[in-house]
Subunit: 326 residues, 2 copies
Amino acid sequence: MQDTGSATTSALLSLAEVEAALERIAGKVRVTPALSSEALDRAAGARLVFKCENLQAIGAFKARGATNAVFSLSAAEAARGVATHSSGNHAAAVARAARLRGVPAFVVMPEGAARPKIEQVRALGAEITFCAPTAAAREATAAEVVLRTGAALIHPYDDRRVMAGQGTAALELIDQAPDLDLVIAPIGGGGLISGVSTVVSARLPGARTIGAEPAGADDAARSLAAGRRMPLGEARTIADGLRAPLSDSTFAHIQARVSQIATVSEAAIVEAMRALWEGLKVIVEPSAAVGYAAILEGKIDVRGKSAGIILTGGNVDLDRLPWQAR
Amino acid sequence: MQDTGSATTSALLSLAEVEAALERIAGKVRVTPALSSEALDRAAGARLVFKCENLQAIGAFKARGATNAVFSLSAAEAARGVATHSSGNHAAAVARAARLRGVPAFVVMPEGAARPKIEQVRALGAEITFCAPTAAAREATAAEVVLRTGAALIHPYDDRRVMAGQGTAALELIDQAPDLDLVIAPIGGGGLISGVSTVVSARLPGARTIGAEPAGADDAARSLAAGRRMPLGEARTIADGLRAPLSDSTFAHIQARVSQIATVSEAAIVEAMRALWEGLKVIVEPSAAVGYAAILEGKIDVRGKSAGIILTGGNVDLDRLPWQAR
C-alpha cells in the first residue's frame, strides 16, 4: 500500500507546514483577490471579506492542496506519476499539478460524472479510469491503478500535504485583511478547514474559525456535538462538493481548532449563491455559498465584526441555475 | 448654463490629468484585480489580461469617472449637489460619489428604466426625476433640474474629468501587467477609450489601443473610417451600455490615439459573455464582452501577443441570461 502522507502521523498540522506549502506553490497557483461589497456589508451590518478561491486556477481552492502534494514528492516518486479518485474539483487540481510537474496523472472518476468535468480533466492530460459510482468502487479502482502504475495516491482531503496546501488560502487572506474577528469556511471532508483553522489559531489567536455545512450533510456538526466522528449517512444537498465524510484526521483538527459549526438550509444556499453573484459579480458554486448562507440565516453572529469568508469554487453549469430550476 | 468641464477646452486629455484623477479617487473606488485564465489563453494563443471593472464599486468602471468629477468640484460647487441623466451605471456612480462627498445627487432616469437600477440609485440616496425615454427629454429634464437646484451636471462621457477618471483603469492595468502589446476597450460614448488611449499612448508608446463595438452600434468605426463624426442612427444591440453616440471630444481622442476599431456580431457578444463567465468565473454584462468577442471573431490579431482587455461592468439580470433567452 502506498503511503499517502496522511494517517502516518497523528499530530495536528503546524503553521510551519502551511507556510512551507505557500512557498512551495508560489507561482504555481494564483494569489486570489479578496473582495467586498458595500451592499452586502450594509445588509449584514458587518465587514465581510470574501476570499475568492472561485477565481483560483481550475476554479477552486483544490488547486492549492493538490499542487502542494504533487510538488512535495521526491523526483523518484513523482516520476511514477500521481493518482486520485474524485468526481469534482480535486481531479482537475491533481491533473493540473501533475502537468505542471511534467509527470503522469491517473484519475479515477465515477461513470456518470459531469461531462464538463471529464473533459476538463482530459484536457489537462490525465488518464481517466471510470468506475461504478460508489465510494467502495472508487477506492478499489484507485488501489488497482496505484498497484499497476506505482503512482502516488493523493487523497482529496485525508492527506496532510493537501490540508497544508488548502490552508495557504487563509495565509493570503490574513495578509489581505489583517483585522479579522472570524473566518468562515465550508466543511465537506474537512481538508480546507483543517488548514484554515491551523492558520487562524496560530496567526490570529483572538479570532475564531467557524465551519458551515448543509443541514443535509451535517456530519461535522453532529460529530463536534457528540465528541466523536459520526457517519455522514445519505447526503442530501445541492452543495455537491460537501457530500464527503470527515476523516479521523480532519475531525481531530475540527475538535481542536474550530469553535462553531453552522448548518444551513438548501433554500439559504440558493439565496446566498444568488446574492453573491449579484453583490460581488463573481460566480460561486453552491458549495461555496454555505458560509454566507449561514450569515443570511442568522446562524453566525457577525454584527459589528470583521469576517473573512472563503468562497471555495465557481464551477457551475450555466444552463442549470438553481434559482431557475425551482 | 452650467460649465460641465468638458467642451470648454479642445485640447486632448493629458497623462497628468489621469494621474491626478488616480490620486483624487484613491481609497474612494477599488483597485480592481486583473485576472487571466489558462484555458482562455490557450484558446486565443495569446496572453490575455482582463481588467475586472465588473468588480469595481457599483459593478462598473463608471465609478471612476463620476468619483473624479464629483471630487474635482470646489466645496461651494459641490454643496449645491450634482446632477446627471442616465439609465445605466453612470447614474449609480454619480449617486455613490455624491454620497461619499456628502452632497445631494439629482438623477434623471427614463420612465421604464430597469427596476433594479432605479432601486440601486435610490438606495444610494439620490433624488430621481423621471422623464420620457428619449435623448431630448433626458437633456431637457436634466437642464430643468440643474436650473432648479444649481447642481453641477456630470455628463456620462462628454466631460474631461470623467474621461480622466475612466483612464485610471488603464494606469492600474499597466501596473498589474507592464508588458502589454495592446489594450482593448469597448466604445459607447467614448469616455473610457479616451482615457485609456491617453494612458497607453503616453506610458506604453510601443503598444496599441484598440476599440470594440457592436456592429449594430458602430458609429465609432464609421466615424474613424470617414474621418468625421458620424451619427449613431438606431442602435440595435444587446450591449445596452454601448448605445450612445460619440461626442466631438471623444471622437477627437479616438482619431488621435486609437489605432483600430473592431465591430462584432450579436452572436459573438453572447458567446464571449458566456465564455468569460466560464473561463474567469466572473459576471460580465454584454457591453463588457465586446472586446473578447472581437478576439473570438478574429477581428483583432492577438496571436503570440500580450493583450489587456477591459471588462467594463457586471450588472445583469440573472433571471434573463441571453444564452437562455434564445
